[in-house]
Amino acid sequence: MEDILEQIQKGILKGDTKYVIDRTELSLRYGISIEEIMRDALFPPMKLMGEQLRTQEIFIPEVLKASRAMHAALYVLRPIISHSSTSMKGLVVIGTVAGDLHDIGKNMVAMMLTGHGYTVVDLGIDVTKEQFAEAVMEYKPNILALSALLTTTILEMQNVIEYLESCGLRDQVKITVGGAPVTMDFAREIGADAYSDTVFDALEAVDDLMAGRMGKYSTNTIG
């Protein structure tokens, strides 16, 4: 008989939300720990799909469908997660800076991060420095991810970082930046901790920041 965790994996890969919920509930009734469900059923298919997306074997809509199925399983687990020591990989607050309405790239980064085990708080678009600071205070994220697509708005990233410094919040969070006009030099100049060019790189950049590693997306400012 097929292992129930494998069934969940297959359900996620197919994006079959109902089936994934059913199998997740059943696995809990079988007494499988939530750590095991998350580690062996929920995260592996998302990791696989991330790799398949990078190698152009699948498209984003397929990943999104799978991601929705995985989140449905997490929803089943949520009441138990809150009563256990199990947590996601880390908390990321993400948003597009003030004056900028572009959200597709930011949404895809958020999707990749959630699919790989991060909890993501998406502040949306046109987010002011004050709103970013409030979110850092409220959610206490490990990572703050800033996005901008316009040449006239990327400097707002600097304003956000300076504002966090003035509020005494800068040291509480690692900051990664991205968006078409953003460069590594720019990221260094404004004091960000990491910069990434693509959706996939953004995930790696966040992984590195979480691990305190000097990865290739690091601006070499992490201590």
Binding site: Q56, E57, F59, P61, I104, T151, T152
Partner: protein, 461 residues
């Protein structure tokens, strides 16, 4: 108040007559440039390097605009290019703070008049402000501070006298974005056919009213945030290319609304369905392709020129390259392309030139295939069978799917299996969409997140 006059017949029915440089209804600028009258002219667009625009920096921004326009017009004159169009496509700050945008518009117009006097060239200015209504979420399309400021900017700019008005309007985009990343054709058809077209009719009615009595003519809209976003996502292999091709044609009815509300001037460069507009309306079109690579990549760099009346670079920042500043470089590149196709025409080789441009792209990508003249004519006829925007959009998508399935099967266009498979999925999804917009709205409304949009802004409630 402008009244909509629907197109029911085609301006061009013979694919061979869909030709670069020639439009059945040419447009003449204030300086006497006849666009669509036989030649292709360069249309240069530029933008600021990374910088904030505010009270402190507006002086610097204007200095950069002055350098850009003087540089590109001088290069045009140096190369003997006698007729030039410049597009002022504003950054959002110029629309949000109209006095900034108006100052720059005047500066650019003055620079064009000076260049005309100095070099003996003819210049024109396309004015393309932003649609800032989407800055309120959910977007308020017909009232509010953003709407009021935007309309004030348009009205005041019209008095300054740019040649014509374009915009990349955003009605329905708040719904379409999710449709694109999920490759959800139902949602895209709803966004385009039920929301975007309705907003186009409203917005372009207002724009036509503003332009009436001014020197500024009414130009075309662009589905940039819809179809070009799809194309860019497809280039990154995030969504299927077949999906991007179907979305492209599904934006035709939306683009058509501007012309049904009174547009006569050249369509916007990034409105890649320009050939459909020309075939249906007879208006001249601006296109962008290989010279727009500095702004975004595309698989249709050559075929885009095959029917162009204005040839554009999309946009380029004022940054220094080895030879000169980037806008100057772009102007030179555009001029050489225009020279080449215009010379082919003079040599009686325009058909050959056009077909080279078409055949060097169309067989390689479905997004190029849907721009082939015979495909444009066939699909345009299907769209014009209906006057209802929603049905036009649905039919545009359905017929494109059908046509691409056949083309791929016949080996007329390359398409990876994984991309082709989405055509069948789209076919199934479109088949289930009812013909009535309101019936579809009732069906789909629960699928769209609360607070994402205001149905009343699109006349749906």
């Amino acid at each position: 108040m402008s009244k909509r006059v629907p197109f029911t017949s085609m301006a061009i029915t013979n694919p061979d007559e869909l030709m670069y440089g020639i439009a059945p209804k040419p447009f003449t600028t204030q300086s006497g440039i006849m666009i669509g009258g036989g030649e292709v002219y360069p249309e240069l667009n530029f933008t600021l390097p990374p910088m904030k625009v505010n009270e402190e920096t507006i002086g610097k921004a204007n200095q950069i605009y002055k350098e850009m326009i003087e540089g590109v017009l001088k290069r045009a004159a140096d190369l003997g290019q006698k007729k030039v169009v410049v597009e002022f496509e504003t950054v959002p700050d110029f629309t949000l703070v109209p006095k900034f945008g108006l100052e720059t518009t005047k500066l650019l117009l003055d620079a064009e008049r000076e260049a005309e006097a100095k070099y003996g060239i003819q210049c024109a200015l396309r004015f393309t402000p932003n649609d800032t209504r989407e800055m309120s979420r959910p977007p308020k399309m017909r009232s509010g501070q953003y709407y009021d400021d935007m309309m004030y900017f348009y009205e005041e700019a019209a008095k300054l006298g740019p040649d014509w008005f374009s915009i990349e309007s955003t009605g329905g985009k708040e719904i379409d974005d999710e449709g694109l990343v999920n490759a959800d054709i139902r949602r895209v058809i709803f966004a385009l056919g039920a929301c975007s077209c309705t907003d186009m009719e409203f917005l372009w009615g207002k724009i036509s009213d503003i332009c009436e009595g001014s020197k500024m003519a009414v130009g075309g809209d662009s589905s940039c945030g819809f179809a070009n976003t799809a194309m860019v996502l497809a280039e990154k292999r995030f969504i299927p290319r077949t999906f991007a091709a179907v979305v492209r044609v599904a934006t035709v009815p939306r683009a058509l609304v501007a012309y049904e509300m009174g547009a006569v001037a050249p369509s916007k460069d990034c409105e890649y369905v320009g050939p459909y507009i020309k075939a249906i309306t007879g208006a001249p079109i601006a296109m962008e392709g290989r010279m727009a690579s500095g702004a975004h990549l595309s698989p249709i760099g050559n075929i885009a020129l095959a029917n162009a009346d204005l040839w554009s670079n999309e946009s380029i920042q004022q940054v220094r390259l080895l030879s000169d500043m980037a806008p100057v470089v772009a102007m030179e590149q555009l001029i050489f392309d225009c020279r080449m196709v215009n010379t082919a025409s003079k040599m009686g080789q325009s058909k050959v030139m056009r077909d080279v441009l078409i055949e060097s792209d169309a067989p390689l990508d479905v997004q190029g295939y849907v721009l082939k003249p015979e495909v444009v004519i066939e699909l345009s006829k299907e769209i014009l069978k209906y006057e209802d925007d929603f049905m036009r959009t649905k039919v545009a998508a359905a017929k494109t799917v059908e046509l691409l399935q056949k083309a791929i099967e016949n080996g007329e266009v390359e398409c990876a299996d994984r991309d082709a498979a989405w055509l069948d999925m789209m076919e199934d999804a479109i088949d289930e969409i009812p013909d009535d917009k309101m019936e579809f709205f009732e069906e789909i409304k629960d699928e769209i997140e609360d607070g994402k949009y205001l149905p009343s802004e699109y006349g749906l409630e």
